[in-house]
Amino acid sequence: MTLKDVKPGQVCVIEGIGKKSTLRKRIIDMGLTIGTTIEVRKLAPLGDPIEILIRGYHLSLRKAEAAEVFVRLI
């Protein structure tokens, strides 16, 4: 499954990140590396983007970008 499918309140671990691209590089440089825990905090009022908690800080990304992040629920 991908980060896009994770519901607010759920916690997951990153297993992989999509194809090679500048977007992927950016995602990784922000700390979303394989094995890192993510908590999905909420959806924006209009349903997109999402807010996640990672490495102790809050990050927002769109569902289209979250779909690039492969995760496993824990």
């Binding site: 990140i17 090679k20 500048t22 977007l23 992927r24 590089k25 950016r26 995602i27 990784i28 440089d29 922000m30 700390g31 590396t33 394989i34 890192t36 905090r41 909420k42 959806l43 924006a44 009022p45 209009l46 349903g47 997109d48 983007p49 807010e51 490495r55 102790g56 800080y57 809050h58 990050l59 927002s60 990304l61 769109r62 970008e65």
Partner: protein
Amino acid sequence: MGLHIALVGNPNSGKTTLFNDLTGSNQYVGNWPGVTVEKKTGKAKHDHLPIDITDLPGIYSFSTYTLEEVIAREFVESGDVDVIINIVDASNIERNLFLTLQLLEMRKPMVIAMNMMDVLKTRGTLLDCVALSKQLNVPIVPIVASKSQGIKELLQTAVEQMGIIPPLPMIYNEQLENVIVMVEKKLKIDVMSRMHAVRYVEEGGIAVLGHIIDPIFLAQLNEEVEKKIAFKNIDRDMVISDEKYAFITSLVKGVTTQIKEKEKYSLSDKIDTIVTHRILAIPIFLLVMFGLFSLSFGPVGSFFKSNFEWLIQEGVIIPISSLLELLEVSDWLYSLVVDGVLGGVGSVLSFLPEITILFLTLSILEDTGYMARAAFIMDRLLRKFGLSGRSFIPMIMGFGCTVPALMATRTLESERDRRLTMMITPFMSCGARFPIYAVFAAAFFANSQATIVFSIYLLGIVIAVLSGIILKRFVTKGKISSFIMELPEYRWPTPKNLLLHTWDRVRGFIIKAGTVILVAMVIIWFLQSFDFSFRMVDDSVNSIFGIIGTKLAVIFQPLGFGDWRSAMSLIVGLVAKEAVVGTLGVLYGVGEAAVDNPELLSAPLRTMFTPLSAYSFMAFTLLYMPCIAAFAAMKREMNSWKWTLIAVSYQTTVAWLVAFAIYQGGLLIGLG
């Protein structure tokens, strides 16, 4: 020779606050060579040693090639920097240390300023700076930038570090380290060889940034790296960042202790449960926007404005005009000074209090972290109009001044989003256009001034949105950018930061009034007082201005304001929008009096406009091409004459069409 320090750190790490602490008001804002990204430099002193401090753009990483990252890297690489101060947000340490590791690989004298130690403490976390410093081989000075704590020690340490290049910690595992060392040896680059080697392992390819190297040699090297790095089960471009974060994770684990149970939700989180709440978020957002405008242009703003006007009138205009009368100067000189200069500049300056409040409230929204939330809330909606949530920040800033708003589009990554945002940001009514609405609303809509002015602002937003929908289809095709944005913790803005920030912007307004507008007013006074054979005219319709204006006015006839004076005021408005009011003041010969008493300008305006044509005029001034300063900023930021000209032609055409629709439509339904 003094010392040159570069200040590097993540956005939201308190970098600006630290910069203000270090340099006080002793700051100079300029541009980086070749680009328009703001370059801030300041002066400090330590034990009589003069120190220059340059504030680099806030970045998360050196690797993704945004303009700001390139600037920061080039500056550090240039050799002008003696010592780097790397500010690290202790409450967000893992991500902040990522940049630190990249900086260490640049092999420069460096010191870490560990900020927000107080925030960390309230979370019940202890950070052992001594142990961390030992592991990284870099001195660490704990500071609280918002309370100016630790600043002296920081400077002291920075001075001591001069000339010392810290040995690198073992960031990578042995195999990867060996590959990097091999590449470093083979590339033989003398400056920042380590950084280039790491980057090469990461990206490969046939080029090394800024260096000319034989492509055949590089192709061989590339293959070799490819083979050796295959030990890790992930792609090559991920390996370096992955190992850096792995190093950071274990490092941080070793130097922090949790002394009390961490609360699951911080105060900032609790605020966000309301502010970005599924249902409450949008009403709160609208309330904030309403507050922003009612504070600036409502009772508070007008209270300060009327007092300030009184001050200008009593303190400047009356003394000077009585002095001139006393000196019995000639009529033309009196007219030049009192009607031209004092009248024009005065009417512009009288809006200073309202604009100051607007800039101040915008600074508060930025400094507290609300702007990021607004972008988060609005992203989905703005995407429908071909924009991004991040376009929202420049658009809001556009209510202050279009120039910084255009510069703020730099946070947008995709060229397409940026261009589109720049094309519609001028529709957000800037502070300088407000005086025009104020004068016209007072003259024609005395009982509903606020509603009328508000409707003009709303018109700008509606036109911007419609433009987004149209332009995204026809003009700017391309892929939509990403929206990876930090939602920083809410913070109390420090008064010092707010004041410096606001003053920075207000100063621009005052300088403009004292220079560009002053000159424009003198020229206008001249052009409307003399004819083509340079004789002073009795009736300004026969002046140079009057003759040109009468010809131009034909264009505006269908919009309801075919008078030469309004036509010329619009032309002068291109110099600076606030000059429209000043020009009308000068042309109607009420000059200085218009400042003291807007009613004086109301009377002549009422002879030339009907309420309908007045509204059409307001709409036109809202929408047509922005002032020269904004035009120049747009040209620089778009870096294309073609797109800049397309943008201003589009804006002016839209202005004409909308004003036409308002006036002719109004006539049809029997208004006016």
